[in-house]
């Protein structure tokens, strides 16, 4: 039986599990090296969630409540690709974020900023046949956290991707270009320097709609398949 397998990430693409400037990693990171598994059916298959029914409204986070949320309306659009530039067709893309004031719709978020009754902050969309996806939302606010003195998270949107296999599962965060807080954020800076700018969306005037919303482009690159199938 020949199976297609997925390429292993080379060093320097993902953050190390132990990134001491991000304090929570100290108590939550394995110290022993992960054991490399050959890619068997268990790793090259994975949930495609193809039968999942998505409501069209899930892609527009500004229209999930009675009225529009406060904040700067934005369009976030991009493609889900693999390392070879091939589309990941029909990929399910999930996002979640805080509101424009920097507060999550979550009981554990105690930041002294207002909740917005018109903003929930979760969205899903299925990419098209070319891997293209598009969300409408509001720009999330920055918010403080307790990692260190005067710690602030830069504005970010959480992304969840499954890709074609268990091996390609990815959860990440999208940041906004030229945010001055990026330089101080230990989560963003946990990614090796050569790779971390991949987490910044690009402002895109072509995506921007006159009189309506700013456009940001964010492509997501998942692992590519090995060129030569394993015997």
């Amino acid at each position: 039986m020949k199976e297609e397998t997925y390429r292993r990430p080379t060093a320097g693409q993902h953050p190390p599990n132990l990134s001491p400037d991000y304090k929570s990693t100290t108590g939550r990171s394995p110290r022993k090296p992960a054991i490399a598994l050959p890619h068997t059916l268990s790793e090259i298959t994975g949930p495609l969630l193809a039968a999942e029914r998505l409501d069209a409204g899930e892609a527009d986070l500004t229209r999930q409540r009675m009225a529009e949320p406060l904040g700067e309306r934005i369009i976030v659009q991009g493609r889900v690709l693999d390392e070879d530039g091939k589309s990941v067709a029909n990929a399910l893309v999930e996002i979640w974020q805080c509101n424009a004031a920097g507060r999550y719709h979550h009981p554990g978020d105690q930041h002294d900023a207002p909740l917005d009754p018109n903003f929930y902050g979760g969205g899903r969309v299925r990419a098209d046949g070319e891997g293209k996806y598009r969300f409408v939302t509001i720009k999330p606010g920055a918010y403080p956290w307790k990692n260190h003195h005067n710690a602030w998270r830069p504005a970010h949107i959480h992304f969840s991707l499954f890709g074609p296999a268990f091996a390609t599962r990815l959860i990440t965060q999208m940041y906004f270009p030229d945010d001055p807080l990026l330089a101080f954020d230990p989560i963003y800076n946990s990614v090796p320097a050569a790779a971390r700018e991949r987490l910044q969306a690009a402002f895109d005037m072509d995506l921007t709609q006159p009189e309506w919303a700013l456009g940001y482009r964010f492509d997501i690159v998942l692992r590519g398949r090995n060129a030569t199938p394993m015997e």
């Binding site: 039986m1 199976e3 297609e4 990430p9 993902h14 953050p15 190390p16 599990n17 990134s19 991000y22 304090k23 990693t25 100290t26 108590g27 939550r28 990171s29 394995p30 110290r31 022993k32 992960a34 054991i35 490399a36 598994l37 050959p38 890619h39 068997t40 059916l41 268990s42 790793e43 090259i44 298959t45 994975g46 949930p47 495609l48 693999d82 390392e83 070879d84 530039g85 979640w96 974020q97 979550h106 902050g121 979760g122 959480h158 074609p164 296999a165 268990f166 091996a167 599962r169 990815l170 959860i171 990440t172 965060q173 989560i187 790779a195 971390r196 991949r198 987490l199 997501i220 690159v221």
Partner: protein, 187 residues
């Protein structure tokens, strides 16, 4: 064209209610072929303390050993309504619970079969990369010949083997570090 991988980031503490608004913790409707099982995954940090804000995902074959995925091209039955995917976060007791059916055996690329197992992804605040591990079933006759377990030093194999309680539920503690650190896989 070669493109750089999008780096991983933590799920953070605030996914619940937005990313996850409905758990998929029951994978098998009544009547699904196979042995119905309950799984309890309990998450601990490196000090052994309970982690109450982690998210577990599971991926498994059906009772015939068939994955619901186009790259599993074997001539084995798919069961209507069984996707094989579940997701649930840990509660204040550190546990995430799933109801499913025991998976069948799936092949090893070099020949033979793997022991029945469930593939596990773990996300949490403080966890920058998805952690992958597996759950095996104590007492299963196939454990001794499983090629993945054979790759692991014997003293650590137990970290992957769930034990059954008196009510029949399968329990697997997952330790992010410390002396009982779970075996995690680079998949």
């Amino acid at each position: 064209m070669s493109r750089g991988l999008t780096p991983s980031q933590t799920i953070g503490p605030f996914y619940w209610g937005t990313l996850v608004n409905a758990y998929r913790c029951d994978l098998a409707r009544p009547g699904m072929p196979g042995e119905r099982i309950e799984i309890v995954l309990k998450l601990h940090d490196v000090e052994g303390a309970i982690v109450a804000d982690g998210l577990f995902e599971i991926w498994q074959a059906n009772s015939h050993g068939r994955y619901n995925h186009p790259d599993d091209r074997r001539n084995l039955a798919l069961d209507a309504g069984f996707e094989g995917y579940g997701r649930a976060s840990t509660f204040t007791d550190g546990c995430a619970r799933f109801g499913t059916v025991k998976p069948g055996r799936v092949p090893w690329p070099e020949g033979g079969l793997q022991a029945p197992h469930i593939n596990i992804s773990l996300f949490a605040r403080g966890v920058l990369n998805r952690l992958a591990t597996r759950l095996y079933f104590e007492g299963d006759a196939a454990l001794a010949e499983d090629p993945v377990l054979k790759m692991i030093e014997p003293a650590r194999r137990d970290t992957l083997i769930a034990k059954r309680d008196t009510q029949g539920a399968w329990h697997l503690p997952i330790h992010l570090g410390g002396p009982k650190e779970t075996v995690f896989f680079d998949v």
